[in-house]
Symmetry: C2
């Protein structure tokens, strides 16, 4: 049933997703903005995953052009930019949370706080609104 229908998808939603954020660096930048309250270029650079400056600059520009993040002058220090997820970017939260849920299940080394994972599995709406509140305060 599903097969016949999906075969006709001319504009594939997975392909579209991959064209918008389809490499690991983009996922890690989205993670930084969504869950780690990072918002400056130097914070992404020093996040510990070893992204190079040219890849980081390219991915930030891609994400901005795709409308997933916004770049604005930092009101505190005018010489630097501040990055934030747009509503389109924030709407990636269910996908990111589903990935985290999966990793927590299958990777012994993944350490997600019990409280976070508990909410993710039992009170997803509450967790989402808590994260959103934290991002906009």
């Amino acid at each position: 049933m599903v097969d016949k229908k999906t075969k006709s998808w001319s504009g594939c939603p997975v392909r579209f997703g991959m064209s918008q954020f389809g490499d690991k660096w983009s996922f890690l930048i989205i993670r930084d903005l969504m869950f780690k309250h990072r918002k400056y270029y130097h914070e992404f650079l020093s996040a510990g995953e070893g992204i190079s400056t040219n890849i980081l600059a390219a991915r930030l520009l891609d994400l901005e052009l795709n409308g997933i993040i916004d770049k604005s002058v930092d009101p505190i220090k005018g010489s630097r930019f501040i990055y934030a997820l747009t509503s389109k970017g924030l709407d990636l939260m269910p996908m990111m949370l589903a990935m985290m849920d999966w990793s927590e299940k299958y990777d012994d080394d993944t350490e997600v706080p019990k409280e976070f994972i508990g909410k993710l599995r039992n009170d997803l709406a509450g967790l989402k609104s808590e994260i959103l509140k934290g991002l906009t305060k």
Copy 2:
């Protein structure tokens, strides 16, 4: 609140996910297996996205080594292999469906059948079990 907790994640679930399937080709192979009933090497190769033979072979091996897909001798034609998602791979369905939901919302060219998207948004459990049934029949 969330910030302080997530900062302490030593084993990051997003990084783990990326280490398991973190490039667009892996996502497209998972999509083929999960939603398009493709299961043979030549079917992935001719899926229209232009993957090269060496990349496809490398990604299939990665996914197999990571326990996301299984490779077995095709019972119908012993000279070829048949690929299938493991239960670990099938558990990526919520993440894949969340991505598809997002793409359908943000991309005018994404064409997901109305019935599929309706189920995805209103009867997720029913949709999942329908897809699983289609895969195991």
